[in-house]
């Protein structure tokens, strides 16, 4: 099924952008997730390394043959990255993301991209 909306949200670029702009932070400092992923990744923090690996794999899916598999792998790493962050975060940090309309909107956008990637991959797998 060729749904332009699903194609748009399932695009690896959309996936990386929606992941990068998720708003996270602490009561004194916050912003797009990409800033923290890069900072944490270069300092050996797990969620940062997972995030960077997820972004690299997702972008790699643009160039390799097994696009779907690589993109889903990247997506899973991204999801793990966010899960690790929110699981380890102090509750007041989680409130920053889940208590702010703009931040929730960025999370929803990423969830939308995840759903689109899964739908598209499932369709491809079924048609193959």
């Amino acid at each position: 099924m060729k749904n332009p909306l699903i194609n748009f949200f399932a695009n690896p670029i959309t996936q990386v952008i929606s992941f990068s702009i998720v708003l996270v932070g602490s009561p004194i400092f916050g912003g797009p997730y990409l800033y923290f992923v890069i900072g944490a990744g270069t300092h050996g923090v797990l969620y940062g390394m997972l995030g960077i690996a997820g972004i690299i794999l997702t972008l790699l899916s643009l160039a390799v043959k097994a696009k779907g598999f690589v993109q889903v792998a990247g997506l899973l790493l991204m999801l793990f990255s966010l899960c690790v962050l929110f699981y380890n975060d102090p509750p007041e940090n989680r409130e920053i993301t889940f208590g702010n309309v703009a931040a929730i909107a960025t999370v929803c956008l990423f969830v939308l991209a995840c759903v689109a990637v899964i739908i598209k991959t499932f369709q491809k797998w079924k048609n193959s």
Partner: protein
């Protein structure tokens, strides 16, 4: 598969829809008309221009109706009904005022008279700079060194009840319009930020008409999980302790991003750069007052923009720290610190130029602290000379301690500040 997705789409669309019962709306509109017909004098009722009636369904399900009266400009009958069209509130509102376009922030000054439907005046409300004065207790005027600011009862309720908007008209001039928070005027807490259009005039270049719609929603920013305090009320507590015989001290404290690791600039696990705060203490043998306060961005998610953003002062009683430096000061120096708290709390937060450490240093140095700390460059926000950070403050206190300066404390683990007394009236 096509069917599955189609079904999912239809179900999602259906769930996203909000039920709107047009018949019910018409019924409630009629009941609003009935309410005013029963209560208004016949002369006033006959002067209503029903063709210009506007209605607005609020998020809580209530409806607000505006029935314009033809006898004067900005003269309305306002009726609020519940979901079933039953009476909730009704008032006659007459607005008279003018735009102040000479000020930097264009404002509105005037009066609003609210009357009961029988014509008896309920309230005369004066609007100064867009603020309903009765809702804001102007307690004092403080100088922040740049300009005078009125001190309002709460630090975050600074969005005026009447705001002025401008737009370019087709002739190239500017149209001005005022928008009023009617729910605030009627004594309700307007959690949704509804503003209704009122006065309008077209500027030079020709006018293009009445401007945009009848009601607009303005997002109100609420402070995040750290509750903002009114620093003046906190500082007022020190006035209850006489200067004679009092011992005054000021402590600057720093909470490192990673406990026991002063070399670490940022805690990537908790997205925290650490925190600096200040403790003011005034005591006598008969008792004393201690207040711990810190400076935060109102919306921390905006801090990475690098812009100046709205800030708040927070009660930091019980906050952890890894280093602190306490100095004993004279009552005059202590008063200088209090004045600095009152003026600096109006400043905006900026990650590079005015963060929590700058605020704490401002107050500490106003009392003669003479503390100059090593500056660090914040990754991606590297300014010449660097920024003041909690890490830099720790390094300075550790250096003072190693030089044998009295009043300095550092710890590898963490200690906690005492509790604040809180606000005093």
């Amino acid at each position: 598969m096509k069917q599955t997705i189609l079904i999912l789409f239809v179900v999602c669309s259906f769930m996203a829809c909000r039920k709107t019962n047009i018949v019910e709306q018409n019924t409630t509109s009629l009941s609003a008309q009935k309410i005013i017909k029963d209560s208004l004098s016949p002369a006033l009722f006959n002067s209503i221009d029903f063709s210009k009636t506007s209605s607005h369904v609020l998020q809580n399900g209530k409806s607000l109706y505006r029935f314009p009266l033809t006898d004067a400009n900005n003269h309305y009958v306002i009726v609020i009904t519940d979901q079933n069209g039953k009476y909730v509130n009704a008032k006659i509102i007459a607005v008279s005022g003018s735009f102040d376009l000479t000020s930097k922030n264009k404002t509105y000054n005037g009066t609003i008279t609210t009357s009961f439907l029988n014509g008896a005046v309920s309230k005369e409300i004066s609007i100064v700079n867009g603020l309903i004065t009765s809702l804001h207790q102007v307690s004092n005027v403080q100088s922040n060194g740049l300009k005078q600011h009125p001190l309002f009862e709460c630090a975050d309720c600074t969005l005026p009840e009447v705001i002025v908007s401008s737009s370019y008209n087709s002739g190239g001039g500017i149209d001005w319009a005022s928008w009023m928070s009617l729910l605030d005027l009627l004594g309700y807490d307007d959690d949704y930020g509804y503003y209704y259009s009122f006065d309008y005039f077209g500027g030079g270049g020709g006018s293009s008409g009445g401007g945009s719609g009848d009601v607009t929603t303005i997002d109100r920013e609420y402070p995040e999980n750290k509750t903002a305090i009114d620093p003046k009320k906190f500082m007022d507590c020190f006035g209850t302790i006489p200067d004679a015989g009092a011992t005054c001290s000021i402590t600057i404290a720093t909470d490192l991003p990673v406990d026991g690791h002063p070399e670490t600039f940022f805690n990537w696990n908790e997205q925290s750069p650490g925190h600096s705060f200040i403790e003011l203490n005034k005591s006598t043998p008969y008792g004393g007052v201690s207040q711990d306060i810190g400076f935060y961005p109102n919306t921390s998610l905006k801090s990475l923009t690098g812009d100046y953003i709205a800030a708040k002062v927070v009660d930091n009683g019980g906050h952890e720290y890894q280093a602190k430096y306490t100095i004993t000061v004279t009552p005059a120096q202590f008063q200088a610190a209090i004045d600095k708290v009152n003026s600096s709390s109006y400043k905006q937060y900026n990650l590079e130029f005015y963060n929590c450490t700058d605020f704490a240093l401002d107050i500490f140095n106003a009392a003669g602290g003479n503390l100059d700390i090593p500056r660090h460059k914040i990754p991606n926000y590297e300014i010449d000379g660097g920024s003041n950070t909690p890490q830099g403050l720790y390094e300075k206190i550790a250096q003072l301690k190693s030089n044998g300066v009295a009043g300095t404390t550092t710890t590898q683990n963490k200690e906690y500040a005492g509790s604040s007394k809180g606000p005093c009236n």
